[in-house]
């Protein structure tokens, strides 16, 4: 007895922001994958951005709280690894939100093979738009981000890594 359609639930869960990057929600980020009904059991299928992403537990709790608001309490969260999450799933509109928030969005499709050879990419500063930037560290404030700095406006900024 599906009281709520998949669309309605997606719509409701789109109110859940990513705990680390509150300007985009878990659908825009591609974490929420599917909603399945089996009798009164509602299964929410999610996929982690990175294997050890500590935000996943918070997201699971947020989903349960949100569903409880509309009376759905028989909830199972299913974590899937396939298809593997990729930054390619982040829409252009969501990328623009990241940029406005001060995070340089992933700038190309899927993983760059140059990564193996130690080449860093030319990135636009999200503050001033200058391309005169350099990488400080491949690992930033969260697993999904690298740390850069702008050599013109001198501001450091996060870059959402392509995987």
């Amino acid at each position: 007895m599906a009281l709520h359609t998949k669309d309605q639930i997606f719509n409701l869960l789109s109110e859940i922001p990513d705990p680390e990057i509150p300007v985009i929600n878990i659908i825009e980020l591609g974490i929420l994958q599917d909603v399945k009904w089996d009798g009164s059991l509602c299964t929410i299928v999610i996929t982690p951005t990175y294997s050890g992403c500590p935000a996943m537990k918070v997201i699971e709790d947020d989903i349960k709280i949100k569903l409880k608001e509309i009376g759905i309490t028989n909830v199972k969260i299913e974590l899937v690894y396939s298809p593997a999450w990729t930054t390619d799933w982040i829409s252009d509109a969501a990328k623009e939100k990241l940029r406005a928030y001060g995070i340089a969005p992933p700038d190309h499709s899927s993983i760059d093979k140059g990564v193996l050879m130690g080449k860093s990419r030319e990135l636009k500063c999200p503050q001033c738009g200058s391309k005169n930037t350099e990488m400080i560290s491949q690992f930033g404030s969260t697993a999904c981000k690298a740390l850069y700095r702008c050599l013109d406006c001198k501001e450091p900024f996060d870059y959402f890594k392509c995987i």
């Binding site: 990175y50 992403c53 396939s82 593997a84 993983i111 193996l116 491949q138 690992f139």
Partner: protein, 252 residues
């Protein structure tokens, strides 16, 4: 040994290695030589622990005795652990940590590349996901190999010493037994001879570009497949398992 037992054993090898090297890296938290490196190592540690969680969850499921990933992580002693000897070696100075991570990252880069096409769907899915992360780990450690190996006289000396000291644990990476034979036959596991070839080529390239020397292979340590470890693993587990062993079934 049947297929199910072989698969359980194989998943422990993969999962335990990730868990133990992840725990080692987490020991750097708050002690990194510079802030960026502290953050980098902890990010990498998280990837490993996340990967271990996926693999040990699946291992428990394959075993089918009602154990959970936490039971496997916290309630086994060192002889039951199947992690590679290399992964349990202490952090030492930064050169030792980088040398250990580099040798292991090249290994997992080629191993997981092959596992992506494993006939076991869950192993393949975990491999596809982890390989993306491993690519970043390898880039990070490769850069540090160059920086320290081709750096100052002091950094060069320390990097060479670290490689010399850890080299004896590398034959353990490619050790195979009945488990491998059963699973290779089923298209689930990887023939480690193939990984070894790619590993040696890449490791030699980077060591030479970093102006370092390939260590002499005088001593060869093996034993992780049978649960024979160096003395370091017991101390690591004593710390890692302290809370769940002292307060069984504690929740928070």
């Amino acid at each position: 040994m049947n297929l199910q037992e072989a698969k359980f054993e194989y998943l422990l090898r993969l999962g335990d290695s990730s868990l133990i090297i992840g725990h080692r890296l987490s020991e750097w938290c708050g002690h990194g030589p510079i802030l960026e490196e502290d953050i980098a190592l902890i990010n990498i540690a998280l990837d490993f622990v996340g990967n271990a969680s996926a693999l040990l969850t699946y291992a428990a499921q394959v075993e089918g005795k009602g154990r959970t990933e936490d039971d496997l992580a916290y309630l086994r002693s060192e002889r039951e652990y199947r992690n590679l000897l290399l992964t349990e070696q202490p952090n030492g100075d930064y050169a030792v940590t980088i040398a250990r991570q580099f040798l292991y990252d090249v290994y997992t880069f080629f191993l997981y590349e092959e596992l992506k096409t494993s006939k076991d769907e869950t192993i393949a899915a975990i491999a596809v996901k982890s390989h993306k992360e491993i690519t970043y780990h390898l880039r990070h450690t490769t850069e540090w190999m160059y920086r320290l190996g081709d750096g100052t006289e002091e950094s060069h000396k320390r990097m060479q010493t670290a490689l010399n000291d850890l080299w004896m644990y590398t034959p353990d990476l490619f050790d195979m037994n009945e488990v491998d034979a059963i699973l290779i036959n089923e298209g689930i596991a990887v023939d480690l001879n193939k990984v070894k070839e790619a590993w040696e080529k890449r490791v030699r390239e980077v060591i030479s570009e970093a102006k370092l020397e390939i260590p002499a292979a005088n001593i060869k340590q093996k034993g992780s497949r049978e649960g024979r470890h160096s003395e370091h693993l017991g101390f690591l587990l004593a710390e890692m398992q302290y809370i769940p062993r002292s307060y069984p079934n504690a929740n928070w």
